[in-house]
Every structure is written in C-alpha cells, then in structure tokens.
Symmetry: C2
Subunit: 349 residues, 2 copies
C-alpha cells in the first residue's frame, strides 16, 4: 500500500509555503472540485461547465487566488515570460524597441525579462543559456549574428524566437528589422542627389555595434558607384552630444573639409548641429549634416535635422506580435520582415 495512506502525520516537516499564498488546491477545496478542474477553468474555460466555472470563479475571488506561474511553468514548460536580450539599455534605439515589445507583451499577459549583453556575443550566448533556464515561452534577441551555439540551442529548443534590428535571410526562426547596408546606400544617393561631393561618415562605438558599420559600408560602397570616395571618422566611445561636437570640430579642421557629414545617429548629429550654431558655421550652406534615427528633437533644432527614420517602437510591437501569433498557433507570414525606413527631409542638408 502506498505509504501516504497510513494515517501518520507527515513527520513534522511543515514546508515553506511562500508567504502562505493561496494555492490552486485551496480554491478547489473551496469550490468543492478537483484541482485539475480549477486549472482547466482558469486556462481553458470553455472545457468546464458554466455552473462549475461560476463556483470556481467565486472561490478564486473570495480567496484572492493568484496563480503560481513558476509551478505552472515547471509542469507545462511555458512561464509566460519572454526574455528580451539587447546590447545596451543606455542607447535610445534599443529602449524604444523594448518599449514596443513590452507594451505588446504585457497587453497579452506576458512578462518581459530584460537582459543586456553590452555588445558582447559571448555574453549573449551565456545569457541565452541562463534565460532558457526560466522555461520562457519564447525569446527575442538582437541582430542576426550570434555564436553558433546560440542558433543551435534555440533551434532545437523549438519555441518561437524573434531576432530584431537587422533584416537578412538567415534568421533562427523569425525576424523584424532593417537592412543597414540599404540605409547607408540610400543616404549616399540622397546626398549625392543634393549635390554634395566630399562626404564624411562619422560614427561612434562602431567596433562593437556592427550594424552602424553596415550603414557605413553601404554608404561607402554606394558612393563608390558614383566614383566618389567617403571618409570615415570613428570614435570608440558610445554616442553622445559631446562626440558630435568633437566630430564637427575635427571635420572642419581637416585640410579639405567635407561638404556633408552623415552621422551614424541623431545624437551625434545634434551635437554637431549645435556646435555649428555656436561657431556660426552655416548649415547646410557651408556643411550639410544628416543623422539616423528620426528623433523628435531634430524637428526643433535650428536648422532642423534631416534624418533617416526607422519605426523602432513599431519594430518592437511587430516582434512581439509575431511571437504571440506563433504562441497562438498561427504561422505569421512573412517570417522575415523588413520594417523599412523613411527619410525625414528637413533643413540641415
């Protein structure tokens, strides 16, 4: 006979009960049903009769039951948690995407576990491992480039994975992003079309942020098709207004100053624009300035900033939506989405 049926008290074990929370069994007892019925009433209400469901709902209400998602996760694998892994939380771009993701997930009853890699792919691989330990329902990570182990593990894991920021054809499962090369090429053509000839690309943190480097490569390559050569001004540190200021000063101090500078983001471009203003350098007559991001601020600068805008919040919304759709059993098409970009033509170029 199963020893549980012997009437003995459980030898004085009195286990921890996390803060004495109400459990599903408590609800079942209150409602006079089996625990599994409560589980069903909560997760698949249509499979429980109206009368029983009403009793259960009432019991949930009176006891103040809140599901222990950890237990649910252990039993069913799937904790309604979505880890989101980004390179940095101090860069506006990622913040905005994260915002879109968070809004969308939360609305659907999922929670976001946010982690940052500091642009380190090894750290990313390690983080992926760690977060899989939480039995998440899906994963969102940044970029299409990862350590080989990441793709392998995620693929065999079998749950939905969305890669954001980058557009290409080698994603693990699904992706939403932009084509950095295309962005660079577009801007090169635009500036050439406006009559500029001596082009400078100024970027920061490009050693680590390979997506900024892709924009530079696209820019450079497209200029080459016009038989123009572009220079690169690179700063190791993270983007800041100060770096933008320095970049403008450096550009103007060149033996042959450029007639246009394209910055790898609006923060740098803004710093440069404000410095030009301070120094009395005419923009765009003496030097044109363009950015990348489409920040609201650019609209109010004098002159206003011409910039290439990417719908970052929307990117986050779409990433989360694709993931949720997959969790709902749908197969969203296409699996690799190019979010595109839009030129905001203003006064600085």
């Amino acid at each position: 006979m199963d020893d549980r049926s012997s009437g003995n008290e459980p030898r004085g074990r009195k286990r921890h009960r996390a803060g004495g929370r109400v459990t599903l069994s408590d609800v079942a007892r209150e409602a006079g049903v089996a625990p599994i019925t409560v589980s069903r009433a909560l997760n698949t209400p249509q499979r429980v009769s109206d009368r029983v469901r009403a009793r259960i709902d009432a019991a949930v209400e009176t006891l103040g039951y809140v599901p222990n998602l950890i237990a649910g996760g252990l039993a069913s694998a799937g904790t309604r948690v979505i880890p989101v892994i980004v390179p940095s939380l101090s860069i506006l771009t990622f913040i905005e995407v994260v915002h879109g993701i968070q809004q969308t997930l939360e609305r659907a009853g999922y929670q976001m576990l946010l982690a940052s890699t500091d642009f380190d792919l090894d750290r990313e691989a390690q983080l992926v491992n760690t977060v899989l330990g939480y039995s998440p329902s899906g994963v969102i990570l940044t970029g299409l480039r990862h350590r080989p182990a990441v793709g392998e593990r995620l693929r065999e894991w079998g749950r939905p994975v969305v890669e954001i920021m980058e557009h290409g054809d080698n994603c693990i499962d699904m992706s939403v992003g932009v084509d950095g090369h295309a962005l660079g090429r577009f801007m090169a053509d635009y500036l050439v079309g406006r009559g500029y000839r001596r082009m400078l690309f100024a970027g920061s943190n490009m050693e680590r942020d390979y997506r900024a480097r892709q924009r530079w490569e696209g820019f450079r390559d497209q200029l080459a098709t016009h038989a123009l050569k572009a220079d690169l001004l690179e700063y190791a540190e993270a983007a800041s207004y100060r770096v933008g200021v320095e970049a403008l000063d450096a550009a103007l101090a060149l033996p042959e100053p450029p007639d246009a500078i394209h910055f790898s983001n609006d923060i740098l471009a803004t710093g440069a624009l404000l410095e030009a203003q301070r120094r009395g350098v005419k923009v765009p007559q003496q030097i044109a300035i363009t950015g990348y991001l489409g920040l609201e601020l650019g609209e109010f600068l004098n002159p206003s900033l011409t910039t290439l805008s990417v719908a970052r919040t929307q990117m986050g919304v779409e990433a989360a939506s694709m993931l949720l759709a997959r969790l709902d059993g749908e197969q969203p098409e296409p699996v690799q989405r190019d979010i595109g970009y839009a030129l905001i033509e203003r006064g600085s170029a």
Copy 2:
C-alpha cells in the same frame, strides 16, 4: 506496496522534457553521485569534498548543464528574478534608473523582469500580484504611494522590497529617492536669489505623475514664503519638445509674461529654449528657463540649460544594491536613502 517499485515501464507517458535539456540528475549520473550532492556542489560548494566537487564540475562541463531556475524556484522559493515596476518606459527618467538596476542585478546573477503601470495604481496592484507569482527574490517598485493591498501583501510576503524615485518616511521596506517638495523649494529659492519675480511653473502629465506635482507644490509654497505667487501651466500630455515649444509661446502671450519659467523636466525646457532661439527671444535676459533632470543635451544648447540634476542611474544602482545586500543577509543602513540633487548652473538663468 508503492507501485513505483513494480518494474513496469511508466505506461508510455514520455513527458515533455523542455527541449531535452540536461538536468541535474543527468549530471549526478555522469558524476556517479546522488542528485542532491550535485545540488550542494552547485549551491554550497564548501559542503562537498574537493574530489567529488571536481568530478561534478567536470560532469557539468561535459554535459553543458544549465540549472532550471524554475524548478529551483518552486522547490526553494526564490528564482533570482527581481521584478521592476515603473510607470512608463517612454520616459527617460525611468529608463535611466532601470539601467542602473539592470546593470547591478545582472552583475550579481539576477535577472530583471520589467513591467510598466502607465501611472495607474490599480494596474500596479495587479502587476505586483502577477509578478509575485514568479516567486521573485525581491521586488522594486516606483514611488511611495500604492494601493493599500500592495503594501500589505508585500509586507507579509517578507522578502526585500525597494521603492524608488521618492524619499519619505513611509516605505514598505526600503527606499531610495528624492524629496520632490525639496526640489521645488530649492529651485524657487534659486530663482528668487537670481532676482526673478514673476515665476511660471510648466509641467506635463502632472495629473498622473504626482511626483511632478510635488515639485510644483514645493516651488509654489516656497515662493509664497517670499511673498511671491507662482503660476502653473499644465499640459495633460506626456513631455515632448513640442510641448515645451507651446509652453514658451503661451507664456510669452500672457498679459504679463513671466521673467522665469521652471519646467518640470529638461525635455520641455529644451523645447522652450530652442523656440526662444528661433524667435530671437533672449534667454535669460528676457526670460529665464530652467529644467529638471540634468540631461547632457542641456550643456550644448545655446544658451546652455540650467537644470536640477538627480543621479538617476546611481539611484538604480543603489536600489539594486540595497536589495542584494538584504538577500545576502545584511541589513543595510539607512533603509530610507535620500539620493539628493545637484544644481547644474549654466547659461539659461
């Protein structure tokens, strides 16, 4: 007899094994020890002999074992997850605090679960309930004002709780923040000391963001002690450069325009400053402008922006540190920390 001892195969159940992950038992088998020994080797290495520990470490390595934190959490209550609940992810202030928290937590091997309330206290209460379902190791939430149920539940829960942003004497467990009234009073005194007399306070989203309202109240009350009256210009929408622009226009259109405007944040103040520049309004001669936040951008505006700075990232770091210290069994003193503020005196006032 316990039916498990009958040699039958488990009737073909083949349960889900989340992606066939290596479990602690697998490691135990590989190392030739009991599962519990592996558990100890991982959690309390000093309680396992060196030889056995070495074997276990090797097994962990070869199998690529990654702990299932969900299971650990269920068994021991404590998942190394810290939910962080903030009002909004589109407001810079919170982003920066979150950044500080995240860095600190991640460094200590904890993960951040990020949720936002949209400034809704009912939503906050609901979120607290939900995240407690993840058996977190602690909780960080925003502000000192909550629904009564939140404080009760969190207190009886018994794990560390840190409230951020606000300083006061009625926290649930621990807190780090600033005293909004003091901030407002300080700025009032400063502007009075600089000779300004007709003061306007311009803010956005103050209906929902009561901390901005506290700054206004402090500002107003302190001016009253100087026998000065302050006006309030309030916008319902969220802060943006555009609102700053509108606020300046509105202020200048007043029958008796103010000689100084204190904005509830640097975004608004920046918009106003840029608009003043565009219109050729002299700052601070014709009108003084001050902000709150201490954004880097203010340094590069023309004129540069005088602003009250709060060490937001540092606040996040301290919040997380306090929490971690408590988890390590320490009792950090003091439990209610005032992070303070600093005036950045620049050209706009």
